[in-house]
């Protein structure tokens, strides 16, 4: 039991919390057809993180968070600038900016010699979920012992705060987010600017991405911004229900993904464990595949069946 508490539980918590923060925000990205913004953001924070790291010389620090947030905002402004001034198509403008900023991050990282010490690019891509440990926990009762809870890894506490922030943001601006996602013109005429709301959404996305980033890596971040929200979108037409479903999908992907990665190979008889972050993303992807095929109203199989019934009548 104590091994589970010390090694598996922190990783599960970390993965699930990272998934939840990204998964909830992802709903609005998917609805606004900005799904790839999550992709772009998770790439552009790299130079910010590197600079923050060079400044503070420790991972998971606040300078890193601030650097990443600044990089995200800078990227959004740059994309907008290139789009407007150069009259470049939005997708292409995004492609130009995020590849360049990622490249700059990679070059600075290798150049400054920080690579391999605490931070390297593979780490940024894959994350390091398994490194979360909670050595002070021995029994189940430690789960509600505040003193022991305080010794949880810093990244988990950080993600917990970020989750609270995300949920507060969504609850406070639910109406505004909803209207501006479905009908930007109506939103503008009602007096809340879709532009500012869009920018604050991107800032929240950046915060969530950065908090999740150092723990689980950029690829899992991208997957979590899109897959749970897409899954939920296939299952319902009600935004509140969709948020709820995407939350459950993210949490369960975090849980089952980790369990599969840690114990799956063992069950098959191999003495190895595979990348947990990768497995969580794979589970999220599988959930979406299931939803695409078997969703009651929008699933491909059900649609086919309905078409057949119609044809027979």
């Amino acid at each position: 039991m104590d091994i589970f508490l010390q090694f598996d539980l922190p990783s599960i918590l970390l993965g699930s919390l990272a998934a939840l923060a990204c998964g909830l925000l992802g709903n609005f990205l998917v609805l606004r057809k900005q799904a790839l913004m999550g992709d772009a953001i998770s790439h552009v924070v790299l130079p910010g993180i590197v600079l923050g790291f060079l400044f503070s010389h420790e991972t998971g620090s606040w300078p890193m968070m601030i650097g990443a947030g600044a990089a995200a905002i800078f990227a959004v402004l740059l994309i907008e600038l290139i789009r407007r001034v150069g009259n470049v198509e939005p997708g292409a403008a995004m492609g130009v900016v995020f590849t360049t900023m990622f490249a700059a991050g990679v070059v600075v990282l290798e150049q400054s010699g920080t690579a391999g010490v605490h931070l390297d690019v593979e780490h940024a891509l894959y994350g390091n979920l398994e490194s979360a440990i909670w050595l002070d926990a021995y029994t189940l009762s430690d789960l509600w012992n505040l003193e022991v809870l305080a010794t949880l890894p810093e990244s988990i506490k950080q993600l917990f705060v970020v989750n609270l922030l995300v949920i507060a943001f969504i609850m406070l601006f639910f109406k505004e987010l909803k209207i501006s996602s479905f009908d930007p013109l109506l939103s503008a005429s009602l007096g809340f600017s879709p532009k500012w709301l869009g920018l604050s959404l991107i800032v929240m996305v950046a915060i969530a991405a950065v908090a999740a980033f150092s723990a689980v890596g950029s690829i899992l971040v991208i997957a979590m911004f899109i897959c749970p929200a897409a899954t939920a979108r296939l299952l319902t037409d009600n935004l509140k229900v969709q948020l709820f479903i995407s939350g459950i999908a993210s949490l369960s992907a975090g849980l089952f993904g980790y369990l599969l990665a840690a114990f799956g190979p063992g069950l098959l008889g191999y003495e190895i464990s595979v990348s947990a972050a990768g497995m969580i993303a794979v589970v999220a992807g599988l959930q979406q595949v299931l939803a695409m095929l078997f969703a009651p109203q929008y699933g491909v199989v059900m649609r086919r069946r309905r078409q057949k019934v119609h044809a027979n009548i």
């Binding site: 490249a103 929200a229 595979v274």
Partner: protein
Amino acid sequence: MEQFFAALTMSAGYNTALVCVGAALLGAASGAIGVFVLLRKRTLVSDAISHATLPGVALAFIIAQTYFDSGRSLPVLLFGAALSAGIGVLAVDWIKTHTRLTEDAAIGTVLSTFFAVGMVLLTVIQSMSIAGQAGLEGFLLGATSGMLKSEAMTIALAAGLVGLAVVLRMKEFSLLCFDEDFAAASGYNVRWLDRTLLLLLLGVVVIGLKTVGLVLIIALAIIPPVAARFWTDRVPVLVAIAAGIGASGSFIGAAISASAPNMPTGGLIVLVLFSFFVVSLLISPVRGILAAALKHYRFQRIVHLRQGLLAIAHNEPVLEPLTRSILRKGGFMSGDGQPTFKGQSEARLIERDQKLWNLYREIYPEESHALADWSLKPIGQVLPADTVKVLEDELCPHLVVSTETPKGGAI
């Protein structure tokens, strides 16, 4: 620095030269194909393609290593990459057409899920504890330092072939980008053409994996066309410029990385390409920022001059500082704000011109609307002489006006 110039002038050894030439060919091919992907507004599909190569590379490595003991063979790995990237493209299309999700969500799904599968497989490879797996990391960010001669040769050859295919199919692709329906009506198989385009893009991505790495390879297909777009509006020229930018950027980037082996090749190439983009954005005479600013400046001066002269003609004081300074510089106004003799006569001409234009707007409202910006020029330079004569007769019916068009000269 010395080494960089040696690499740049291809005198830093045969291998380095081969790598640089391979990178240049790759840049040219991806720039050329990227033009059509950009024009079809499908740039980010390449992002899905590049990430979707990872599971293929990993699986190919596992299979080749277990059964043939040749895991590092580049063609095998690239074949696996192409296969899984192809499945990825089909998956994007399937999600887009068969579910309610939009293309961006489809791309994001495929990109992240495929890459995650690849990640899981990579950890499997790591725990297989077999030799030769070190080369796989190079696929993420590109590494040319340890490249074999045969590998560099394969890359150069394949890139050249893809570039050639793009040039040969240029006409069909342009048609596909600008008028799909017309292409279909002319008997082209649009679906097949679209697939060919994506297949060539896929080819470029796969070939570039080793040099640039899968995270940044899409920059090679995005940045050169976007930069080239500032210089021209004609497709063949666009393809040529994009290929040129891609080739020179990749060549320089590869040369820098040859002189500094620790630096990731892909990152350097992308940064060089981005500097090309910035230069194009700023100084291109066609659509650059400087050109646009200059155009705006000229336009502003013309408007101010005309308004100022009209004010003089109507005996109104000119108060606007910019207008005053423009009038003074042109010698139309003296230092104390009084119009000079030259200003008076020029003002008469402009007033007459303006009256003719006003009349034209009254009589032909629609035509004049189409000429909106032209109406800042002297009317005789824009409209045919006989129209101007009709207008002049209308303006002063009792006067016999010579058929000569008025001399503008003010602008």
